[in-house]
Amino acid sequence: MTIAGAITILTYALAPFMWLLIIVVIVVTGLHLLAYLRGYQITRYRHRRTTLLALIIGLTAIIWVPWLTHSSLGYVATLFDWVALLGAAAATFLVALLILQPLSYLISFHNDQ
């Protein structure tokens, strides 16, 4: 397959979720910008409860990702199924972390004022 072919397939596959992707990008960028202006540093700031919450959200993906695809966890059977599902859970964890970390920083910053 050509690169143009791969881009075509990806564009069609992502088209129904474009609105969601755009919202996520806006929210993540907005929060990071806002927090950064108040001294937040992505590499420095750690908040254990936030990380734990992101981890829990990531783990819930194991249930709702199959459901989103009109399937269920019971049909996740092969090694490749599990690799794909855990990959989806890891991605969810990452997105949750990217949203929750600056958010928790902003909340604590606000409370400290």
């Binding site: 143009a4 075509t8 069609y12």
Partner: protein, 460 residues
Amino acid sequence: MQKTPLLTRRELLKVGSSLGIGSLLPLSALSANTLQTQARIVILGGGAAGMAMANRLAKRLQGGTITLVEPRETHHYQPGWTLVASGVWNADKTMRPNAQFMPRGVNWVRKHATGIDADNKRITLTSGEALEYDFLVVATGIQLNYHLIEGMTPELVGQHGIGSVYASIEGASRTHQAIQTWLNSGHGKGIFTAAPTPVKCAGAPLKMTFTTLSRLEASGQRDAFKVDYMAPGAGLFSQPWVDEFVKQRFDDQGVNRRHYYRLSAIDPHARQAEFAFVGPESEFTSHHELREAEFRRDNQPSVIADYDFIHVVPPMSAHDFVKQSDLIAQDGPFRGEWLDVDIHTLQHNRYPEVFGIGDVIGAPINKTAASVKAQAPVVEENLLAVMQGKTPPAQHTGYTSCPMITGIGKAMLVEFGYADNFAFMPSFPFIDPTDESWAAWVMKDRMLQPAYYAVLEGQA
């Protein structure tokens, strides 16, 4: 109602290339060797195969004329119909305007072809006009012969407990409703049939049975429902491993399998179906031996079966106007019913300037969109070679694929070809075609439609 997307895929691609994506392409891909020509090329049918060919040829030919004869304004993604009939997808998801895929520079004739005069290289259209060609690509797909089942018409789908996923997108939606009505009744007998001819997506009648079984099991009242599968031959699927698997699974799921029965008549009001017993020694038992003229036999034993729901799979063939043309097979297993092409080069066996692609061709397997994906580059290469007076160099392997849905939420990615008695040809080393998996289901549910549209655009 069809929604107009904010940005079409083509526009998105344009944005992509202006952002530099185009620069990732090797120069050779951008200037794929084109052929200067004055030839008149006619493509009959703008479904999966015809549209893919129009896009491919538009990219490869300079000069000349490409005419695509396609009467429909809407493109139907037929592989989605099983998901619509199973209640997983909305019908809207399977339809897009044909104009979205039509390449620039191709002359789109929105009419039906009514005749092919291969000796004089002329096509006649519904309007009475004639189109002359130097090279012809036949991609008119399949004709559904509901009329060969006495009492049956496609309009009956959705009424009197009759379903048929093949009828149309409306038919697929009405099939879903008919199954739902049967489920709501809380009991009764469902009969799933298969056709005694080659059919498009030979897995679809099996998929409909499996998804209905899923719904029956989910209702918690599986024991209140009886499910029969009536097959006209000994086999249920052409790939031997899958055939055995499906038979075993049907037995495990309480499906009453009956072989050598062909649906011959239906009485919708009485909810009764007549099945002709064609017997193991009958020529009907081979998927490729049935011809319309031989369909009805006197004194053929038959049984009458009551049903609450029936899934009808009509006999299929090339369209009548193709059957009446010189291009139809004149001997061999496909005689009188399918286009006479070499199954490897896809060039017509008697008219070298004619190629066939898609469901219309006479081939032992291959009536899938997945086959079209494999056939399109072969037809492109071979047609261009013939236009330059060379022998066709490319060979089709018979690649076909059927994501065999074995329940709502799981599937097997079955891919195979002509060689070694339809041996598996897996595309992904990490997906075993004999495994039921969620990943194969996700491919069917999410990835195959994007891949199909890429095929239409000549990109895959």
